[in-house]
Assembly symmetry: C2
Homo-oligomer: 205 residues x 2
């Protein structure tokens, strides 16, 4: 694209570094900011810089936090015996929204993915194993998305836990509540039959 | 959404003020920045602040420019007799990309749209009329998109020019080059028949 302004070109170039934002979208966003009062641009820039400079990762679960220990880990009403292994803060938010989980989390920061150059050492796996070895944790719940990378990561952690006495579980896969069986994919439907649960249990939730 | 961090919440709130960026997309963009080196966030913030603080509008055509008079208006090889009326810099860029236009532009900064509270006084219409009155311009080419707002704006300017001797024209509407007739909408196809041109002229371009 041939911009009439180096300033505009630079802003568009930086904006289009964001994932999923092409040059055209970046131009639209930047032109929108130009039409708005200067305070909006300032507040956006400050919020991003402030976040990047001051964000912390919880020392216990590695979730994004404003404090050394995040609110969830600091909550005395949550059981320390359950640890749910997730990829990032979005998974934590999704599970928290259900209101069904009273344990803690362990945020890996990604999944093992040789294609993207992400190995076990870039994730917080060692910290998880160390935490388990301390003995307070009774059950690890794997809640990574069920992709090749997710399954690989689960299995890697599972192997690391060998020899340590701890219960491991994975969240149930099955047909979404409200979905029609005929449109479900075969793998999901197969798993939901294999992992069927006593009818009485389904009445509780 | 329930964020575990005020800093994160603030950054997502600011990012989601941008048009077409919802809370989920904003979170994805902000988490991406968090994973990147701090320089990327700094460069983005600086580019936006620098643009907003230092951008100029060309005194002649009101296009975005780093200088008082933009490159196009300052170019002695371009004819001052033709002025193409467009909405914003994206239209200028699109027309410049064709390499077919050697006149100047006049950037309105929007279209008349009572629904959005945009009246003629918020656009650079008066400046266009004043420019025409100076006498150097021989033809005004309307190139706004042919929507209700575009047509209203064209007509408003056309009425303002009444009594001034000047040629006005509008860019041709018709079937896109390479498109099949059967898929064209009726209005466009109708216009392209009504505004047919001598066959010899079509051989030139």
């Amino acid at each position: 694209m041939d911009f009439s302004s180096k300033l505009l070109e630079q802003a568009v170039a930086e904006m289009s570094q964001l994932p999923g934002i092409g040059k055209r979208t970046a131009l639209r966003l930047v032109l929108h900011l130009l039409k708005q009062p200067a305070t909006q641009t300032q507040q956006l820039a400050e919020a991003l810089l402030d976040l990047k400079a001051n964000i912390k990762l919880c020392k216990n679960c590695h979730n994004i936090s404003d404090t050394e220990i995040c609110e969830i880990c600091a909550n005395p009403n949550r059981t320390r015996e359950l640890v749910c292994v997730v990829e990032d803060i979005r998974d934590v938010m999704a599970i928290e929204n259900t209101g069904q989980y009273r344990g803690l989390y362990h945020v890996l920061g990604g999944k093992i993915s040789p294609m993207d150059g992400i190995g076990p050492s870039q994730l917080t796996i060692k910290s998880l194993i160390d935490k388990v070895k301390e003995g307070e944790v009774k059950e690890i719940i794997f809640a990574l998305s069920s992709t090749l990378e997710g399954d690989t990561t689960n299995f890697y952690i599972f192997r690391q836990l060998e020899g340590i006495e701890i219960k491991t579980s994975t969240i149930a896969r099955g047909i979404s509540v409200g979905d029609e069986l005929e449109y479900a994919d075969e793998v999901t439907l197969g798993r939901s039959i294999t992992n069927r649960i006593p009818f009485e249990s389904s009445l509780k939730s």
